[in-house]
């Protein structure tokens, strides 16, 4: 059967079970859009290509299925770059399909021509420029396989316009593309045995859940491991949800703005079991001090993570679910009363005295946690102070209900990612928490929210500026605040321009009432919560310092 290249892309998307794509049209991708018109695939037109990339990323994080974004050549393609980099840093399966100028024009600086495979090479797991129409179908299928297998990541396929219009022989895939499961081989088994011995000897063990644990769907196995040996669990920013926040063994977030109990626990531990964490600098601070005096067991799907940042005494690579299950089988049940006594003292310290009745972000996040306690919600954040407050004070109980740009820290991520998550998982409601400045970057995606009546609740923590920048200048630049104040935006009127109901609050009661009303309504909602620009995220560990070297701010 001969069909057009554009139709082949559509057929391949259907083969992969793609139900939704996020995109923005342009000249060189129009043949594909024409083919998409009659396809059983929902196209979500975003306000900007960056929004399409973040939305595909949010879709993938919330659902576990590859997200797909579409853009035209030139500026369309370059606008995807931040989104692809965010997905790359956090290992999210995204497939980007871009139009390219016709093959005969490539290299001639044609209108809207850029070398997008060259540009995205360092921020994609792999990318392709399709120059041979006969290879189009296999390339699209391969792109999905690369994106979803092993350590997931974004893949870009650049398709010149003439390839989209060429009549090509198409053979449907024999069967749905199957993922090759990771076998746990002999050497890994030996190392699992060694890990079990080391864990049995440890007096002060701790588990670090990273984003890889979420990607590997390893939450039940982490829970089993923690329960079996009564081991405290901490989570990186990316790992939130891999272990239930309300579980008594959970100590909270670890890292630069981690809970003190969690950071102290890692610092004092004599053995750490890192599951799907790449030991980012924001997690470890000073890497030498981080690992000093501990046995490090590092479990990851990607062999290159072992010994990359922190040298592992025992590195085990492969499918984390299987590895953890095998490890649990080899461990005797135990408890650890003296270790828990130490930890309990830190947890006591953690309990901050309730501040006065001023509206603060920690209180607000706590209120959201209480109101959404029954589950059924996904939390998406932007990047900055509010992100840290959300990570500290929300209760992320289950995997894939926490959508945040961790590695890249891309401001503007939150709203489009919330759009993607909401479309991927319609039976959960997305609560989007943003700062005012990040919201300004991609706030035009409220148009997408409104166009599809997505029931997203956007909570904008408005401190009239760049709170995290202000905090860094407060801590490290002698309070010489510069380029961090952006007051005077009427977000209520902004939302109203898209037909979205918004309210502004500046008290606890006001927020509680507004949030309750938002939950009661099935419509998109925006709540603008005014907070004090002087509020700081605490605890704080300076970059590069030991993770228990809290800054007194």
């Amino acid at each position: 059967m001969r069909i057009s290249g554009a139709q082949i892309i559509v057929e391949c998307l259907k083969e992969q079970g793609v139900d939704t794509v996020f995109g923005y049209p342009g000249g060189t991708i129009l043949p594909f859009y024409d083919a998409l018109r009659d396809a059983p695939i929902r196209h979500i037109l975003t306000a900007h290509e960056q929004g399409a990339a973040h939305a595909a990323d949010g879709y993938a994080r919330a659902s576990g299925r590859a997200g797909v974004c579409i853009a035209t050549s030139g500026p369309g393609a370059t606008n995807l770059v931040t989104g692809l980099a965010a997905a790359f840093m956090d290992s999210v399966p995204v497939v980007a399909i871009t139009g390219q100028v016709p093959t005969a024009l490539i290299g001639r600086d044609a209108f809207q021509e850029v070398d997008i495979t060259g540009i995205t090479m360092p921020v994609t797991k792999h990318n392709f420029l399709v120059k041979d129409a006969a290879k189009l179908a296999e390339t699209i299928r391969y792109a999905f396989r690369i994106a979803g297998s092993g350590r997931p990541g974004p893949v870009l396929v650049d398709v010149p316009r003439d390839i989209q219009t060429a009549a090509i022989l198409f053979e449907p895939a024999a069967e749905p593309a199957d993922m090759v499961p990771f076998a746990v081989a002999g050497a890994a088994v030996a190392r699992i045995e060694a890990a079990a011995v080391a864990i049995a000897r440890a007096k002060r063990p701790a588990i670090i859940a990273g984003g890889g644990a979420v990607a590997a769907e390893a939450a039940p196995e982490i829970a089993a491991l923690a329960a079996k040996i009564a081991c405290p669990v901490v989570s990186t920013l990316m790992g939130l949800g891999a272990f239930p926040a309300s579980h008594p063994l959970f100590l909270g977030l670890t890292g630069m703005h981690g809970h003190k109990a969690a950071n102290n626990c890692i610092h004092d531990a004599d053995l750490i079991i890192a599951v799907g964490s790449r030991f980012s600098d924001r997690v470890t601070g000073d890497r030498a001090k981080y690992a000093a005096g501990k046995t490090v067991i590092h479990i990851d799907v990607d062999p290159a993570e072992i010994d990359k940042n922190v040298a592992a005494h025992i590195g085990i690579t492969g499918d984390m679910k299987t590895i953890l299950a095998m490890l649990v089988d080899r461990l005797a049940a135990g408890d650890n009363p003296s270790w828990w006594q130490t930890i309990a003292a830190w947890q006591e310290e953690n309990r901050l005295p309730p501040a006065a009745d001023k509206l603060t972000a920690p209180w607000l996040c706590g209120e959201i946690a209480v109101r959404t306690g029954g589950g059924g919600y996904i939390f998406a954040t932007d990047v900055g102070q509010h992100q840290m407050w959300a990570a500290q004070h929300l209760k992320i109980e289950t995997p894939r209900t926490w959508v945040t740009s961790g590695g890249l820290g891309a401001m503007g991520y939150g709203l489009p990612a919330a759009v993607g998550a909401q479309l991927a998982v319609p039976d959960k409601r997305v609560i989007h928490i943003a700062g005012d400045s990040g919201f300004k970057m991609t706030g035009a995606e409220l148009h997408t929210v409104a166009a599809h009546r997505l029931p997203i609740i956007s909570v904008i923590l408005d401190n009239g500026g760049l709170g995290m920048i202000r905090q860094l200048q407060h801590a490290f630049f002698d309070r010489r605040y510069t380029a961090c104040e952006l007051p005077g935006v009427d977000f209520v009127a902004f939302a109203a321009a898209f037909g979205i109901r918004a309210v502004s609050v500046d008290t606890r009661d006001g927020f509680a009432a507004a949030f309750a009303a938002a939950l009661a309504s099935p419509d998109p909602q925006v709540i603008v919560a005014a907070i004090d620009p002087a509020d700081l995220v605490s605890p704080m560990v300076p970059p590069g310092a030991a993770i228990n070297a809290y800054l007194d701010i």
Binding site: T117, G118, M121, P122, K125, H126, L129, K131, I146, F182, A183, A185, A187, A188, R191, D302, P303, A304, I306, D307, K308, A311, A312, H313, I314, G315, I316, T317, G318
Partner: protein, 175 residues
């Protein structure tokens, strides 16, 4: 510490950029790099000499292994491999210096590939040490310009890069 690595890659546009890009992006230092075809037109083979300790080498191998177009990687340690590069050196060896230069070339089993009134161009093949030694000795005679290829290498004995098996797990320091 220098290490030579042989990398079998799919012969596709952009593959060299992808491999070289990984090195520069992660701050790994390339001392030399050569690339050429193999007996199988589907593959090219890159020989790269890198500087770094065992930990860096371990990361280089693992990061290379992740590249979709990399099919196999083989270490070429000096004891168990042959490594050769070529240098061409143009010497301002006219008149009475010429015989000394030619004698030196003979000692190193280098070839004279061009002779002109005012210059001699010498081609020398060998491992890094041999080429470096030759250049050091010939330099005082008036080295006008030179060009070097990177090292190319093969393992000694019957073992080949095709014996490589993608490892699914690694020792603490694998190499």
């Amino acid at each position: 510490m220098k290490h030579a690595l042989s990398i079998l890659v799919y012969n596709q546009p952009g593959v060299l950029v992808r491999v070289a890009g990984m090195f520069s992006r992660r701050g790994f230092n390339i001392h030399s790099l050569t690339v050429g075809i193999t007996q199988d037109p589907r593959y090219s083979r890159i020989t790269v000499v890198v500087c770094g300790d065992n930990g860096i080498l371990d990361q280089i191998v693992k990061q290379l292994d992740k590249l979709v177009e990399v099919e196999a990687i083989q270490l070429l340690p000096p004891e168990t491999s042959v490594r050769r590069g070529i240098a061409m050196v143009k010497i301002a060896a006219g008149g009475d210096k010429r015989s000394e230069v030619l004698k030196l070339a003979e000692v190193f089993r280098a070839n004279i590939v061009d002779v002109a009134e005012q210059s001699v161009t010498i081609e020398i093949t060998g491992d890094d040490d041999k080429i470096n030694a030759f250049i050091e000795l010939i330099n005082p005679y008036g080295l006008l310009e030179m060009v070097r290829t990177g090292m190319a290498g093969l393992a000694r004995g019957a073992s080949t890069i095709y014996d490589y098996e993608r490892r699914d797990c690694y020792e603490q320091i694998v190499l």
